[in-house]
C-alpha cells in the first residue's frame, strides 16, 4: 500500500513529489502517469521546445526515483473511495492511504476521428509531432484564438516567416477567456505585424483530404475552402474528471477542493489543471490552467500532506510570450469600473484595473517589474494613491 498515491504525471504531480522530497518526506509514493516521460513543465511545448531552443532536460522536474514507485503508461480509470483503492485499465487495483488527483486536462477535439494532419497540443509527443509537421507544411491553420494558438503562431513565424499561418475562431474576438480588450489589442498588434492572419466569426465545418488521407483543405461554414496541410486545434481543454463521475466529488468543471487542496472526502486531494479550487483572493472557485497554479499549489499541498496546514492564497497570475514580447496577467482584469494606463513606451505598458476604488488586477506588456509590485500591493491590501499611479514619473515601488 502506498502512503501517497498520485494520479497523473504532469507538472503538478512532479512538483508535488519534488517538494515532498525536499521536505524529507519518507513515506511510500506511487505515481501513475499516462505518459512515458518523467514529469515536466509545459510552457515550452508551444514555444522554445517547438523552436528547438530547449530540450526536455531543460524543463523536466527533478525527482529522486529511488524513493517513488513510478508507473509509466498507466491509466487509472476507477476509484473506490470506500475501500481506498484505485483501479487501472487492466483491472489491477492499488490501495492508498492518501489520494491525490493531479491528472490535469485534455484538449477538446474538433472531430471524433483521428485525421492525418490534424494535431492537438497537450504533451511532449504532441509537440514533437507538430514540430516535425511544421517543417513540411506550407499552409498552417490554427483553430481557436486562445493563448496556445497565439504562442504557436508566434513560434512558427519566428522560425519560418514565409509560411502562411491563419488563426480561425468562432468568436468575433481573440482570447475569449482570461483576457480583456486591452490585452487583445496589445497581442493582436504583434501578431498582425508578423503577418499572422485572422479569420474570426468563422467555423470549420469539415476537412477535405488528399488521396493519402492527409488534410488538403478546410471548409468553412460559408463553404469557402482554405488550403491547409497542417491544422492545429487549440479550442480549450476539459478537466480529466470522468474518473469520478457519479461521486460527490464530481463537478462539470473539475474536482472541487478548498484552499487547502482538500476535497470533501477525507484523505483525497486535487491540484493543478483538474482542481476547481477555492481562490481566496477572488473569493470563488476557479480552475486555473497555468504554470503558476501547478507550481504553487503543489508547494501548499506538500506542506499540508506533512501536517503543516497552509492555505493557497496566490493571486491568479500567468504569462504568455509571443514574438519576443512578454505579457503578464494578474488578478481580476474584467469587472472593473476604472482603469489606469501607465505607458512607458510603445511596447512597454501596464494597465491597472480598479473596482470600488480598490486595485483588483493588472495587465503588463514587457513590464514584469510593475506586476511584481502590484502583486505586493494586492497581497498587502494597500489602498493605493491613484493620483500617484497615474504619474508615470513616480516609481510604483513608492506605493508599497
Amino acid at each position: 500500500m502506498s502512503d501517497i498515491c498520485i494520479i497523473g504525471g504532469g507538472h503538478a504531480a512532479g512538483r508535488l513529489v519534488n517538494n515532498l522530497q525536499k521536505l524529507n518526506y519518507n513515506g511510500n509514493i506511487d505515481i501513475f502517469s499516462e505518459e512515458n516521460f518523467l514529469p515536466y513543465e509545459r510552457p515550452s511545448l508551444s514555444k522554445d521546445f517547438l523552436l528547438d531552443k530547449k530540450n526536455i532536460n531543460d524543463f523536466q522536474i527533478d525527482i529522486d526515483l529511488d524513493k517513488v514507485n513510478y508507473y509509466f503508461n498507466t491509466k487509472i480509470n476507477k476509484v473506490d473511495f470506500q475501500n481506498k483503492l484505485i483501479i487501472d485499465l487492466n483491472n489491477k487495483s492499488y490501495s492508498y492511504s492518501k489520494l491525490i488527483f493531479a491528472n490535469g486536462s485534455y484538449p477538446k477535439r474538433i472531430f471524433d476521428e483521428d485525421i492525418k494532419g490534424v494535431h492537438y497540443l497537450r504533451n511532449i509527443n504532441d509537440s514533437i509531432n507538430i514540430k516535425k509537421n511544421i517543417q513540411n507544411s506550407k499552409n498552417i491553420i490554427l483553430l481557436g484564438a486562445g493563448y496556445i494558438s497565439l504562442e504557436i503562431s508566434s513560434s512558427i513565424k519566428k522560425k519560418y516567416p514565409k509560411k502562411e499561418v491563419t488563426i480561425i475562431d468562432i468568436s468575433e474576438k481573440i482570447l475569449v477567456r482570461n483576457s480583456n480588450d486591452d490585452l487583445r489589442e496589445l497581442i493582436l498588434k504583434h501578431q498582425r505585424k508578423n503577418n499572422v492572419k485572422f479569420l474570426l466569426k468563422s467555423v470549420i465545418k469539415s476537412v477535405q483530404k488528399n488521396n493519402d488521407e492527409s488534410i488538403e483543405f478546410v471548409a468553412l461554414d460559408d463553404d469557402k475552402l482554405l488550403a491547409c496541410d497542417l491544422l492545429i486545434v487549440g479550442i480549450g481543454v476539459h478537466p480529466n474528471n470522468k474518473i469520478i463521475e457519479g461521486t460527490d466529488l464530481y463537478d462539470d468543471n473539475g474536482i472541487k477542493v478548498n484552499e487547502f487542496c482538500e476535497t470533501s472526502i477525507k484523505d483525497v486531494y486535487a491540484l493543478g489543471d483538474v482542481a476547481l479550487a477555492k481562490n481566496v483572493f477572488l473569493n470563488k472557485f476557479v480552475r486555473e490552467e497555468s504554470w503558476n497554479n501547478a507550481e504553487k499549489q503543489s508547494n501548499i499541498l506538500a506542506q499540508n500532506l506533512i501536517g503543516t496546514k497552509i492555505a493557497y492564497e496566490e493571486i491568479p497570475w500567468f504569462w504568455t510570450d509571443q514574438f519576443d514580447q512578454n505579457f503578464q496577467i494578474l488578478g481580476e482584469i474584467n469587472n472593473f469600473d476604472n482603469k489606469i494606463l501607465r505607458s512607458y513606451s510603445d511596447n512597454k505598458n501596464t494597465f491597472l484595473y480598479i473596482k470600488n476604488k480598490k486595485l483588483i488586477g493588472a495587465v503588463a506588456e514587457n513590464n514584469g517589474r510593475d506586476i511584481s509590485i502590484i502583486r505586493k500591493i494586492l497581497k498587502k491590501n494597500i489602498e493605493p494613491n491613484f493620483e500617484k499611479i497615474q504619474n508615470i514619473n513616480i516609481n510604483l515601488k513608492e506605493l508599497l
Binding site: D62, W319, N326, R369, S372, K397
Partner: protein
C-alpha cells in the same frame, strides 16, 4: 593581487541608488548587474538563468531580485534560487570599494 583576482572598475558608489541595479559590460564582453542594497554593493550575471532576460528590469525586494519575465527570484548576495521557474543559481562576483568606486573580481 593574487592569481585568482582580476578586479575590474565599474561604477562610482554614487551612480547606483539604494535598492537599484545597473548593467555593466566587462572587458571580456560579458554583461553583469551591479546592485546597491542598503549601501552594500553586489554583482551577478546580468541574465536570468531561466530565460535570457536582463535582471536590471526586475524588481529588487530587500536582498532578492525578481526576474521581470517569469518572476523567478534570486538571492542577490549568494545567487541562489529562492523561487522558480529558474533551477540554476545566478553567478555572483566578489566586489570591493576603492576610492568610492565599485570593483568586481571577474576571476
Amino acid at each position: 593581487m593574487n592569481d585568482n583576482e582580476n578586479w575590474v572598475k565599474t561604477y562610482s558608489i554614487n551612480d547606483i541608488d539604494d535598492e537599484d541595479v545597473k548593467e555593466f559590460h566587462l572587458p571580456n564582453g560579458n554583461k553583469i548587474a551591479v546592485y546597491n542594497i542598503n549601501n552594500s554593493f553586489y554583482a551577478t550575471d546580468l541574465f536570468c538563468t531561466h530565460e535570457k532576460v536582463s535582471l536590471c528590469d526586475g524588481f529588487i525586494d530587500g536582498d532578492s531580485i525578481e526576474c521581470p519575465l517569469h518572476q523567478g527570484v534570486f538571492k542577490i548576495s549568494t545567487g541562489e534560487v529562492l523561487e522558480s521557474p529558474p533551477t540554476e543559481g545566478l553567478k555572483i562576483y566578489l566586489t570591493k570599494i576603492e576610492n568610492n568606486f565599485i570593483y568586481v573580481n571577474i576571476n
